[in-house]
Amino acid sequence: MTKNTIYLAFCSLLLISCEEENLNNIAANQFVVEAFLYAGEPVNDIKVKSIYGLSEEEDLSIPIDDAQLTLTKNNRQYPLVSSGADGYYHYPGNDLLVETNDIFTLEVVHNGITAKAQTTVPTPTIGLNLSQDTIKVPQLPFSAGRDSIASVIGSFMRNSRIDATWQNPNNDLYFMVVEAQSALNDPIFPGQVLESLSRFKFVSEPTDDTSLTFLGGSLVSFGAYEVKVYHINREYAALYENRTQDSRDLNQPPSNVENALGVFSAFNSQDESFVLVRDTN
């Protein structure tokens, strides 16, 4: 064997042994982003968490609190800070406004991976109208017997229906939130424990319809309630259209986050309110 041939073999061995291994650090160190912006509201609903093991039967994801998050709007950067140990982040200043048609970019840096996502704040819901703004809760005729009480309650439940309607010429997607505006400390029926309901909040599934119905009779405390109907983006609606994954192909779930999993979306809303009061008549 000549010197030249020996040299050739050595060079080839060296060439192969020095080659890169798997470069896809992104898929090897995946994390999940759940980030939502609401027009006119502070930025505080942004969460980062880990994936968890295949064999686990419950969600054992670990909140990630040490990521670097930055929101960018109109080329200006707004660094977010960790809200605690639960993986949530917020913007501490009051100079960041979330407004209609704003384009936001979210950058999350964790474990050497930079994930990016972009969303546009949609137009607000238009023409929101509630079928009634006051729900009167009748006095229960305790002295008139059980049938009368049942009749009054039945009548109240039927009359407590609130239809929220809005305009939707483009068949866009909306969801509704009903939330108490004040502390729930005035129970409709005596003895009810309100502690667990003190942060009552009802959130509907997205709909491309022009109305949703809410039964005021399902509430347990007198007071003022706010109804917000949010106009949502495709990236959020896609999560509802692809709720299940084909277990044969593991088809990739929808995500608008590049280099990570999850969703970054913005919402815009219109709100109305109603009150739940005693019927004094």
Partner: protein, 406 residues
């Protein structure tokens, strides 16, 4: 010369999913999941090869070949959902010419070109080739080569993370599937004595227009642009061969150090990844020994595990209405490795003559030490927790044979 070949592959997989609620002993899910894939490839070739010795230094080789190919592929899910149903026909006409030139007794060059007209793309593909051999002495020669090769019937990797990736064949249509090509560079040397050969060869192949099929990126509808992916790759390696050619004991041993990597913009976040058939190391040795009327043989193979794509974990997206979507996330493409493959095959044959008949009694044992070599891993996510199992190659398999030659 006329030649015809036929390849077929029929794949059927049935999975029964039965879920019951223990408390009420009621059936929650009872589904029969089916996958059916049928792939048929037929070709018919008519070829005409010629050799003309022009003079002592030049020999011309030239010829024509015409091939007619037909490929059918059907992929059906659950009897009702036809994902692919492709029926293709194509003709290609090729001509080639090469000159084997030996300017000196110790030096030989083969230079040629092949042109192929392919009727599906309506294009002509030119493939130049060049190779040489240079004898340094009676025992030592150097060799090298360059060549471009086009492939019109393409092997498509069908990525399947849960059931093991397979492949199927389709004709290039210059749309979803492009005509793939490979540019080969080879250089090597051989040392040969009366009884032994030692050969070393290094190669690099640049691969273009590779195709891959995956259902991982589909949405609710069947969009072929989301199912087929196009990319490039390369294969490189070095092969060593030591062979004993003569005597009662003969045999050879090869060692290959190799690597095959692909880059598909639409897969693996755009990063390059190992091809499914990438094997870093492969050692293979075959031994044969003759003793009177007996023939003994042994084959041993040791190879690195092949790559596969492994589900990486689960994650949940909490929706604003309080519901949660649960998903499985998939790790780097072909980022994990199956265990190493090794196997020993043994055989013994006794040759016996009865009158004018030669009888060969044989006993062979495939996978003598019953190595549990893994073909692929499969994941059943309908179970909680998911069931991970291994599909293996053949276990120890004895085989008795008798052959009569007359």
């Amino acid at each position: 010369m006329l030649a015809s070949s036929k390849y077929f592959s029929n794949y059927r997989r049935n999975t029964d999913v039965l879920a019951t609620l223990v408390e009420s002993d009621s059936v929650v899910v009872d589904r029969d999941i089916k996958s059916i894939e049928n792939n048929n490839v037929k070709d018919f070739t008519l070829r005409f090869d010629n050799e003309v010795q022009l003079n002592a230094k030049h020999k011309l080789e030239f010829g024509l070949l015409s091939t007619s190919a037909q490929v059918d592929y059907e992929f059906v899910r659950d009897d009702t959902l036809t994902i692919l149903d492709i029926n293709q026909k194509a003709n290609y006409l090729a001509s080639y010419i090469s000159d084997i030139w030996q300017p000196f007794p110790s030096f030989l060059v083969n230079a040629g070109i092949r042109g192929t007209y392919y009727d599906l793309s309506k294009k002509t593909y030119w493939a130049p080739r060049l190779s040489f051999e240079y004898k340094l002495s009676d025992r030592i020669k150097k060799k090298g080569g360059y060549g471009k090769h086009y492939q019109f019937v393409n092997r498509i990797v069908n990525e399947n993370v849960t059931e093991g990736s397979r492949d199927f064949w389709l004709l290039a249509d210059d749309d979803l599937i492009r005509v793939s090509n490979a540019t080969h560079f080879i250089i090597g040397a051989a040392y040969e004595t009366n009884g032994y050969i030692f050969d070393v060869e290094a190669y690099r192949k640049n691969l273009s227009n590779l195709s891959e099929f995956s259902l991982r990126f589909q949405r609710n509808d069947i969009d072929l642009d989301r199912l087929f992916f196009l990319g490039n790759g390369y294969a490189e390696g070095i092969e060593f061969l030591l062979q004993k050619k003569k005597g009662k004991y003969t045999g050879w041993a090869t060692y290959t150090l190799a690597k095959v990597r692909n880059t598909f913009p639409g897969l693996n976040n755009g990063f390059s990844f190992y091809a499914l058939h990438d094997q870093r190391h492969e050692f293979k040795t075959v031994h044969s020994y003759e003793y009177e009327d007996w023939r003994f043989a042994a084959t041993f193979i040791l190879a690195s595990g092949k790559p596969f794509t492994e589900p990486a974990g689960q994650y949940a997206i909490d929706l604003l209405d309080g519901e949660t979507n649960n998903y499985i996330s998939v790790g780097p493409k072909n980022g994990s490795r199956l265990p190493a493959y090794h196997r020993l095959d043994l055989s013994a044959h006794y040759l016996y003559k009865v009158g004018k008949y030669d009888i060969d009694f044989g006993l062979s044992i495939f996978n003598f030490y019953d190595r549990k070599n893994v073909w692929y891993r499969q994941y059943n996510f309908t179970e909680k927790p998911p069931v991970i199992s291994e599909v293996r190659y053949l276990d120890l398999t004895p085989n008795l044979s008798a052959a009569i030659k007359f």
